[in-house]
């Protein structure tokens, strides 16, 4: 186990900057998830930690040692790839023991480690099969086993569940969480699936266009996002944003009125507001934070487009008079959504205020 520190890490391909100065501390034994949309640089950052991409500038340390120019095999890392990257001409046993054999480890020790890993991952009956004779989930377990046998300081997972079907993904997610509990290793995990990020991580790093937008515990990001990007990315379905205008400012509060509905006003807490009266702002409301009519601080009438009934809850897809499309979760009522108009309550305590640049107003 080891900690990982990134100091002002940059990656450029010619004039194109991919990673634009990342500072990050990952503590020993921590499960950190890099999350962000496609092309945000999360996989590139992981590959830089692995040594598969050069670091243009900045410093990377693993366990206190600078690793910028160290060979991938000597960084004390093991990596699990999205496509599993199992050697197709080797059996499961050979795949798992390959790196150890190459490192010159004694046969008995290789056998012991491979057997231990196989027991943890319940791979026993599959050991003499080749990858093509395994299912997706089995292949992923072998890929994890191949990482475990190396007893690395840091595990790197690059979207390991993306190629699995929904049911298997949930199963493997639990397996990985259990594995982290058992091994207590430092894990860096890349995904674009925010549900994976929320359920697995001790700490989430949200990336956008090569820049870290916010770092924090999953619920901290959910409860207290820094900007509209993080607010929209964390949480499923994503947060709704309603256009509004600052109506008045009082000590500790900002009152806003919704665009096209000046009578719908919300008084939001803001200790040091960076906005002034008349500014365009947006209000963020999570689908699950809409209240029943009359039970919030203000009522909002929406036009219902379509409704989805999932059994335990329902989602109403609607739009407001300013045109924004919103999603409302209605766990308590199924019949209320079978109409053209719906009145929902907005609560100031569970709404977020963002300025016109998308930065949170606190």
């Amino acid at each position: 186990m080891a900690d990982v520190r990134l100091t002002e890490i940059r990656k450029s391909f010619g004039a194109l900057d991919i990673i634009k100065g990342v500072d990050l501390s990952i503590e020993t034994g921590e499960f950190v998830v890099f999350v962000g949309p496609s092309g945000c640089g999360k996989s590139t950052l992981l590959r830089m930690i692995a040594g598969l991409e050069d670091i243009t500038s900045g410093e990377l340390t693993i366990g206190g040692s600078v690793m910028n120019d160290v060979d991938p095999s000597k960084r004390g890392i093991a990596m699990v790839f999205q496509s599993y990257a199992l050697y197709p001409h080797m059996t499961v046993r050979e795949n798992m023991g390959f790196a150890l054999r190459f490192a010159g480890m004694a046969k008995e020790e290789i056998e012991r480690r491979v057997t231990d890993a196989a027991n943890i991952l319940e791979l026993g009956p599959l050991m003499d099969r080749k990858p093509k004779a395994l299912s997706g989930g089995q292949r992923q377990r072998v890929a994890i086993g191949r990482a475990i046998v190396r007893n690395p300081d840091v595990f790197l997972f690059d979207e390991p569940l993306s190629n699995l079907d929904a049911e298997l993904r949930v199963h493997m997610r639990v397996e990985i969480a259990k594995l982290h509990k058992t091994l207590k290793s430092t894990i860096i995990y890349v995904t674009h699936d925010q549900v994976e990020a929320m359920t697995l991580a001790d700490k989430i790093v949200v990336l956008r266009a090569g820049v870290v937008e916010q770092v924090g515990a999953p619920l901290d990001l959910y409860d207290d996002p820094n900007n509209t990007f993080v607010a929209g990315f964390i949480g499923s379905p994503r947060m709704n944003f309603l256009k509004a205008q600052v109506a008045s400012i009082a000590p500790g509060f900002v009152t806003v009125s919704l665009a096209n509905q000046p009578d719908v006003q919300l008084r939001l807490p803001a200790a040091a507001p960076s906005v002034k009266v008349g500014d365009e702002v947006s209000i963020g409301v999570r689908p699950e934070h809409f209240r029943a009519a009359g039970q919030g601080d203000a009522d909002l009438v929406v036009a219902v487009d379509v409704a989805e009934h999932l059994g335990n809850t329902s989602y109403v897809y609607a739009h407001v008079s300013a045109g924004e499309r919103i999603i409302i979760e209605r766990a308590e009522s199924r019949s209320a959504i079978n109409r053209e108009k719906l009145t929902v309550g907005l609560s100031a305590a569970s709404s977020f205020l963002f300025d016109s640049a998308g930065t949170r107003v606190r």
Partner: protein, 279 residues
């Protein structure tokens, strides 16, 4: 007049299949006829062959005896095998490394150099013969098998073939191997070669056949009987003042056997390689 009945739907349904079978039958006949004619001719005397006899005769053993009397068969086959096997192994070694390198390593010059390599495919061999002959002459390699090997081992076509096949090689395997501690040459040897074995097999068949059947360049650089390959010897039998075509056909059969053998042994791998090694 009775109107001709319109073809039924059943007829229309079978028409494409029938056309395919007819076309394939014609192609099969065109491909197989020379082999059948070669086998028939090998059993007939030269005069019967010239007369156009199309049935099996009784001169097979005479033709075989004459061929073995006229030709030092072990030496000629040894020469051909040596040249073909060495050319094949060296061509595959050089071209697979080049194809792997062109695909795996990125640089600004990569595609320019690759275009130059492909450009050499457009230069006909006739234009290269004289410069090559002069080069070999200056290097003192005329009448040696090295003179046949050298110009062929960096084959633009096989480099192209390997590069195209390497596009299907998962880069994550290379990354995984790097994390496992393999150097680039070890990745090539222990991961790339086994994973791409069908591509290698197909390249082996193509290069071996081309090399075994190579005629023009060996004809120019090999001048003594001790160095000549089977294709040159069969050709010289055919161009004698009174060629014995029965003997020539025996030579042709023997010259064809190794390529047929290689093809049939590696047929499955060859087809898989042409379709792509990685699935």
């Amino acid at each position: 007049m009775t109107p001709t009945p319109a073809p039924s739907a059943r007829t229309w349904r079978f028409l494409p299949a029938a056309s395919t079978y007819i076309a394939l039958s014609i192609a099969a006949f065109v491909s197989l006829f020379p082999f059948v004619w070669m086998l028939i001719s090998a059993t007939n005397t030269s005069i019967d062959i010239i007369k156009g006899k199309t049935s099996f005769g009784d001169a097979f053993s005479t033709n075989v005896t004459n061929f073995f009397t006229l030709v030092d068969v072990p030496l000629v086959f040894w020469n051909s095998a040596k040249v073909a096997i060495l050319t094949t192994l060296l061509t595959i070694a050089v071209s697979s490394l080049a194809g792997y390198g062109f695909e795996m390593f990125r640089s600004k010059m990569r595609d320019h150099i690759y275009s130059l390599v492909l450009l050499t495919l457009m230069v006909p061999f006739a234009a290269l013969m004289i410069p090559l002959f002069m080069m070999m002459g200056r290097a003192g390699l005329i009448n040696t098998h090295v003179a046949i090997l050298l110009p062929t081992i960096a084959s633009a076509f096989i480099i192209f073939y390997f590069r195209q096949s390497t596009k299907a090689f998962p880069t994550e395997l290379r990354d995984a191997a790097k994390v496992d501690g393999l150097k680039e040459w070890q990745i090539f040897l222990y991961i790339y070669v086994p994973v791409m074995r069908s591509t290698f097999a197909a390249a082996f068949v193509i290069v071996f056949m081309t090399s075994w059947n190579n005629y023009l360049w060996p004809l120019i650089v090999l001048q003594s009987n001790e160095t000549k390959t089977i294709t040159l010897v069969v050709s010289s039998l055919a161009s004698a003042y009174y060629p014995d075509f029965g003997v020539v056909m025996i030579g042709t059969i023997l010259a064809t056997l190794p390529t047929l053998l290689v093809f049939f042994i590696m047929q499955r791998q060859f087809v898989a390689g042409m379709l792509g090694s990685v699935k």
